[in-house]
């Protein structure tokens, strides 16, 4: 079901990106903040300058994660993703199989739990 949650959240992401003036596109804040809250989850979004979208879904009941924590999570995720992309053997579009990326993501998950 997360697929649907994430998929529909892309609408909001799109809306948020297009909402920012084109002139300001360069200085756009990558972190989009809370996309929308549902009953059980909070969906946060982050869009890189190359329009790669990250979405983090957090349990609504989890109050320990504040905006700042989410923001730093995204930043970590983005850095790790950049490393993956820098790998000359990686073809953009393929599923990411990097162990480093995987471990970073899973540490974040553990931290969030």
């Amino acid at each position: 079901m997360f697929h649907y949650t994430v998929h529909t959240s892309l609408d909001v992401v799109e809306e948020k990106i297009s909402g920012v003036g084109k002139a300001l596109a360069d200085q756009r804040e990558l972190y989009l903040g809370l996309l929308y809250p549902t009953e059980d989850y909070k969906v946060y979004g982050y869009v890189t300058n190359s329009k790669v979208k990250f979405v983090i879904v957090v349990d609504s009941s989890n109050t320990s994660l504040r905006d700042n924590e989410i923001r730093s999570m995204f930043r970590k995720l983005h850095n790790s993703f950049t490393d993956v992309m820098c790998n000359p053997f990686y073809n953009p579009g393929d599923p990411i199989q990097s162990k480093a990326f995987d471990s970073i993501v899973s540490t974040m998950m553990v931290q969030a739990c």
Binding site: H3, T8, D11, V12, E15, P37
Partner: protein, 1091 residues
Amino acid sequence: MSVPDYMQCAEDHQTALVVVQPMGIVPEDQFFRIYKRIASVSQVSIRDSQRVLFIRYRHHYPPENNEWGDFQTHRKVVGLISVTSCTTTKEWPQTSDRFQGQKEVFGSTLYDSRLLVFGLQGEVAEQQRTDVAFYPSYDDCPDVEKRVEDFVESIFIVLESKRLDRATDKSGDKIQLLCAPFEKKDFVGLDTDSRHYKKRCQGRMRKHVGDLCLQAGMLQDALVHYHMAVELLRSVNDFLWLGAALEGLCSASVIFHYPGGTAWKSGARKPGVSSAADAGKRHRPGALTTNGISADTSTEIGRAKNCLSQEDIIEKYKEAISYYGKYKSAGVIELEACIKAVRVLAIQKRAREASECLQNVVYINLGQLSEEEKIQRYSVLSELYELIGFHRKSAFFKRVAAMQCVAPTIPEPGWKACYKLLLETLPGYSLSLDPKDFSKGTHRGWAAVQLRLLHELVYASRRMGNPGLSVRHLSFLLKKEVTQSLENYTSKCPGGMEVISLPDGLKLPPVSFTKLPIVRSVSLLNLPVSLRPHKVKGLLGQGMSSASPFIYSPITMHSRGDERSKKIDFQWVQGDVCEVQLMVYNPMPFELRVENMGLLTSGVDFESLPAALSLPAESGLYPVTLVGVPRTAGNITINGYHTSVFGVSSDCLLEGLVGVKSSGCMVEVVPSLPRLQLCTSLPRSAHLSSEDLSTSVSLRLFNGEMQQLTITLENIGTETLNTLELTSKNLSTKEKLFGEFLTWDLQDALSHLPLKSGQSVSIPVNISAKLDFSGQENLLHDLNDDGISVTGLPVSSPLRQVLKPRAENKPVGSDASKNEFNHVKMLEAVLTFKYSGGAGQVEGYSRELSLGVRVDVEPSVFFTRVSTLPATSTRQCHLLLDVFNSTEHELTLSAKNNQDLVLHASECQRYTHTHTQTPPSLKAISQSQRTSLLLRNELFVEGVLNQLILEHLQLAPLQWDVVVNGKPCDCDVIADCRVGDAVPLEVKLTNRSKSAVGPFSLTVVPFQDYQNGVQNYDLQDAVSFIGSNTFYISTVKPTENSVCVGALLFLYTGDFYLNIKFQDDSTARDLPPAWFCLPSVHVKAQEPVEL
């Protein structure tokens, strides 16, 4: 009120609600035709007031909604139009009663009503009633619209009067308290005299008047009333009504700001843009005139003040919604307010706020909803999301709606509706069912979700009872991902290539499995070498004329665009099996069985021979050869291939495939040619290294052996063979070959032509191997070594002068030499049969069949060493040949002089041959100097003496003859003479060379040899010359001779030797020293005979 109207929009606040209902039995289609005609009268301009009354028609309206009429007047049913059929007058009273009954349902709120009777034509005796209209039939009712307009006008009159009544009512002491339906019991026993209560009544009435004003087309008044109502109600904390007042305010403002309307699609109202604009224009003057206020600027400002700004509208809406939210029973009102707000936000393009609003809608709990209502609710949510541009969210809700259609709680799941809704979600998930869209560009959309959706589609279509659709979707799914259940369906319903059309007009294009398997490259294969057609003549001119004026140009033609249509530079032959190789791989994690894989071609009749293959899971590139037979001549183009995977046949055109490498797809097919099959009397062997050969044979022969090879050619084609040529070519070999390697006689075979199909012809070919196995350098070297060791003395020998210092002590053992010479030499040749016939011959084509012949030549008998021994005379020498038999058989060697020599296997023997020939005939002899050897198995072997040796065996062209005492002196001849007698000495030079030689000077030096290595030249007192001891020979021309004559006088007895030294005056010319080898003369001087 439990039924929300999801179609609500802000403009509805200014409409009057009219319910149109069928009464009794009215055919549905007829009713809706009439309903449509009635509904077309949605706005009516009132004649004398310039105002417009908007009417909202409903053919179904729950009475409990009507109860909210006081709360918001647009919810109140103010008019009723009943449509009924009445065929006889007898039925009329009954009909009339029922109309009364129907009126009573909405009785409390109705302003007016009409009854449309179809079937009667005024035959009713009763007096004409204004509220009843009779029509003969549903088709014959031209003035329905007119009547409805009249009806609307009458409603307007009532509305207007009510408005005026209420508006002026404020002076009265007792204002009735208007209540929402659920409030009624709350106010029982409340103090009606309190100020608070009064204010509440006032506020609510104000709000009510505002509603009426809005409905009556007096926007401005409505705004004023709403503002007042808001203030009043806010002071008494009457939140529900405050919310309603705020909403009214918003509605009025929205109507003012957006005369075009906020409904995104045709609801009950259908205002065209222009007419709506007109309506908007008409509102304002109407409002002004009825207020009786002159149109000066201050009122404009005032109006602008009253009217909410765009931002305020949203603010107020939010406020109103929050107030509604306080009341559980007002859920529907809240919901509708939300929807209205969303529509306004959508128009303002504030999608995010709209989405928040919609999010709120999702959480509004309306209690128990029926499944149908749920579906409707989700559909509306989906549409609203679509409206604000959230396509994904929209698709999500549509999908939820679709799932709701088939929820397990529903007794009869609506799979059809589900399927339809699911189809509608596809664009939201960026999913196109057309494989064309799929194959182009990169993958779009969320794969996991798309996959799930497709699964759902498949399931729905199956449950719908349409397996064909299911197959098509599954095919598509398979194309994207993996599933195997397709096979089960195809057994029931084969997946074809035709377009499936759904009843609702959607077309499902055929799905071709271009990815099952994935084809990476397509290459047309040339025919095997033996079957390739060769153009007999005119090929060069033809090929050149089309390409370029340059014979060679480094600039290649840029033909990247039409690479596919490029013609390939080889030909196929009609009637022969042609091959196309595809490199395929199976991307699936299971074994893929591809059946009936064949070629799609155009241009000539092509009989494709389908192939079936099975690709292992996730195979690498895998070559597949598809074959077919062109049935006519011409140009053939390979367009694609067809497959049958999981029972689904697909036609895959190359041009539609991405990433397919092709070197061209067009090839010329030439008319049919005969085919020859070749078989030989020898077993076949592996092909020769470089050449493209159809067959090859190999055999082993001893050097000098000859063998016959019989080649049988059979015409296995259908055409008659008319011409046959045979050529041979020796492949480059370093070996010097003596005689013809391959010889044949074709005459016999040619006499059999033309060769019909199935007939055969034999050609005998003789193979003979004659090679030189003598190790050339070694041979000579050994010879020279022997020259020293054997002769010992530098005696006169024709070969002596080429002596070289002995380099090393070579082992003379036969084992070493055996190893050295035992290697096998190889001879290769290609026999080419060129033949033609049939239609292809007319076109100038022929075929070539080539047979490779490889012969490993083993050495049989060869000379390991050749040496010479000086014979007794300078005219003779002994030729020593070391003959080695490298075979494992016993050989008998027979020479010309019938000297037989038996050689055992691997035995080396010395064979002596004496050269007795005189110089003139030596060369001729040496050429015929072949030693015939008889092998025990009766085979003749000829060993050939190396030419190099023969050169050394040639005698020098200058022949020296020394005559002493009238007697020619040669090596071993001892000339006798007497002491005291003069011994005449004659030196004669005969020139046999081709050029003149000379001048030379010769000096005769006598010496004595003590046979102990000491030679005494000091013989002045023993030997005396009569005359000069030095001779001068001037030029000697070819074939001439010159004679020098002198005399010697020996004074003592003894053995004397004469050494004739010579000196060459001409330093310029270098003549070989061997040419001047003069014999030593041995003279024995004896006591003079005592007389």
